[in-house]
Amino acid sequence: MNANAFMFLALYAAAAVLFALAPLAIAWLWARAFSPRKSGAVKNAIYECGLDAQPTGWVQFKSEYYLYGIIFLIFDVETIFLLPFAVACKGLPFAACLAMLIFLLLLVEGLAWAWAKGILAWK
């Protein structure tokens, strides 16, 4: 296949991009030349439902959320990895088994840590 076939594609792509961008560019130039900017505090407001945004978005989130993240990893994601591991367990080479066991060990370590910290107790 010669290069000219791809040249046609490249030209076609360039024409398509230009076709899409040209109206936007013309509209932008037109607005710049003829229509004065009218921005204001209300117009640039974040919320667009007619109401003032309240309260502000700069609020603190509880940092304890990371505990739930860890527990989720241990009990939920672990299951996803354990199932294929259990299915393919017999045919796995020793190195793969070892890697999986290290992964499990890390998760169990996390569980022990969470248990020791008392997160598992119902409060």
């Binding site: 667009e48 439902c49 003032d52």
Partner: protein, 202 residues
């Protein structure tokens, strides 16, 4: 340009126009109303946009749920004093050029609820209204008639001179003051022309 000559040419299949006419033709046929209903007039507005009355025939069927994408505010129904700041804020957030249709007796002057303590006596106290549609509520045909009246108004605008559309006029305000809740009533500046009529009536 001579209208007679243009008619003759158009019969021969030659269409002549000016930049102004082409520009206004595009503007008047692509009004995007804000999807915003206030009271029973809104039901008629919805009916006007649906298949039976089909506002799409006039290029105004694209009701936008965000003021950032709309250029026509149809004030359809009773504007309570609680709601008035929100209406003005929505208008302020619309891009230029923007138009206002006051639909129904309530939006024009308060209508049957005019003497209610909580009813605004016409949205034109705070916003520049282009077209008033009387009725209680106006039928969808009346809304279409109002829309066509607005289109005629847009088509007749000159792009230069003192009567030019507001988006080409640096002096036309982009935002109107949002009324605030006072102790007993809305406080804040009103539009001067409307204030006179309101005071005369009340």
């Amino acid at each position: 340009m001579n209208q007679e000559l243009r008619d003759q040419l158009s019969r021969q299949g030659v269409l002549l126009t000016s930049v102004e006419e082409l520009y206004n033709w595009g503007r008047k046929n692509s009004l995007w109303p804000l999807q915003f209903g206030l009271a029973c007039c809104a039901i008629e507005m919805i009916a006007a946009s649906m298949a039976r009355f089909d506002m799409a025939r006039f290029g105004a069927e694209v009701f936008r749920p965000s003021p950032r994408q709309a250029d026509l505010l149809i004030v359809s129904g009773t504007v309570t004093k609680k709601m008035a700041p929100q209406v003005v804020r929505l208008y302020n957030q619309m891009p230029e050029p923007k138009y206002v249709i006051a639909m129904g007796a309530c939006a024009i002057c308060g209508g049957p609820f005019r003497d209610g303590y909580n009813v605004l006596r016409g949205i034109d106290l705070y916003l520049p209204v282009d077209v008033y549609i009387p009725g209680c509520p106006p039928r969808p045909e009346a809304l279409l008639d109002g829309l066509i009246a607005l289109q005629k108004k847009i088509a007749a605008q000159h792009l230069t001179g003192p009567e030019r559309p507001r988006h080409l006029n640096a002096d036309a305000p982009g935002e109107y003051p949002v009324p605030q809740f006072g102790d007993h009533d809305l406080v804040g500046p009103r539009l001067p022309a409307a204030q006179e009529t309101s005071d005369a009536h009340s």
